[in-house]
Symmetry: C2
């Protein structure tokens, strides 16, 4: 697939803008676990995912984490190019959750194009609105959902993403997704096990009652 | 002050765009306590604050609230015009916290102008980035700050906004700002009183040790 096909707004750019954008984009790969953008690093550039999976998270001073959103094929990450928008004042870390291929677009090039091009600026607006909506959803979850429901929803999401009912994931890692402590996750998983929802073994969580888990997620 | 002066991006719009925007904007007033936009109502329009104070909050199914951000003179509220952006999928309620004068701009007019005008689209982008940053800050507070610090910060903010050390505010109202329960606020305020930071009386909280409160906020 060509670079142009990853950009829904492509046909609405001028030939000169298309040239500028495609010439500046560099194809890159990242191994699972690699950090692509570090919150405090100024401006990595925009990341356009070709294939794979990225995770955007925030980090507390004490080293706690919470996943803010995930990016999949065709998703564009704006916040690794925060220098592009004067008013962005938060720091996200972007990590490859799977081996990932992506286009890296220099922030300066994108910014200059966006300043001239109403279609590109409006497209960027829509992407930001999309992420904003995900963050607001997350905030409502944190405020008003109990952890058992959030954990059930997370395990179901992982099952779908990994296409398996036997997840290879540590309790620590789950805690970092949900913004909580490892002990809390361990305690809740043991409760799930006692309810027959999961079966725990070393380094693995097997979902044994998907329907039961979905009921929990729904309530 | 003329409508144009409220719009920093004004000089970069074409005369036709300026005409369209200023002709569509209507000057309105709202009394303290009035709801200007209800989360589920489709599209109130953009609100540009002339003077006063607005509060944007989210509401849980159980009727709990949390303040997401506040708007002051010259601030523009996008999320009361959520139909403008396809990808916005969250519901905010907007309430006048003080008697407020504002311009109401129809979402359809603004949307059409934004689609043509790169300066207006980029300006809108900056405003969204600004709100996004406020929400991310709030999320970090909720996740990683203890309630005593959040309460101290809130009381100091109120002192500055109301220009008084004797706040006329109920514990319920504070709980609605902070996204917690009234009882929790009452308990914490009693603790503050026992530490000599505040003096509680019916319907009033007097800050008696501002420096001590600031220390708490800072730690």
């Amino acid at each position: 697939m060509e670079f142009a096909e990853y950009f829904p707004v492509w046909p609405r750019l001028t030939p000169a803008e298309q040239k500028k954008l495609s010439e500046s984009a560099v194809s890159r790969t990242a191994k699972k676990g690699q950090i692509l953008h570090n919150g405090s690093a100024e401006c990595t550039g925009l990341l356009l995912v070709q294939s794979g999976q990225l995770r955007a998270y925030i980090l507390s001073d004490e080293g706690r984490e919470i996943t803010v959103y995930r990016l999949f094929d065709l998703d564009l990450c704006l916040f690794s190019a925060s220098c592009m928008l004067r008013s962005l004042r938060f720091e996200l870390t972007i990590e490859a959750e799977k081996d990932t291929e992506f286009w890296l677009i220099p922030a300066e090039v994108y910014k200059r194009l966006m300043e001239q091009s109403a279609p590109l600026a409006n497209y960027t607006n829509e992407i930001m609105a999309e992420r904003f909506s995900e963050v607001m959803w997350l905030m409502e979850q944190i405020l008003w959902q109990s952890l058992d429901k959030r954990l059930a929803a997370f395990l179901l999401e992982e099952m779908a993403l990994e296409e398996t009912g036997a997840l290879k994931i540590t309790h620590e890692r789950i805690a970092n997704h949900l913004g909580t402590a490892r002990e809390v996750v361990t305690r809740m998983l043991r409760y799930f096990q006692s309810e027959g929802l999961v079966k725990l073994s070393r380094g693995q969580i097997e979902i044994t009652d998907k329907a039961g888990m979905q009921t929990l997620d729904m309530v």
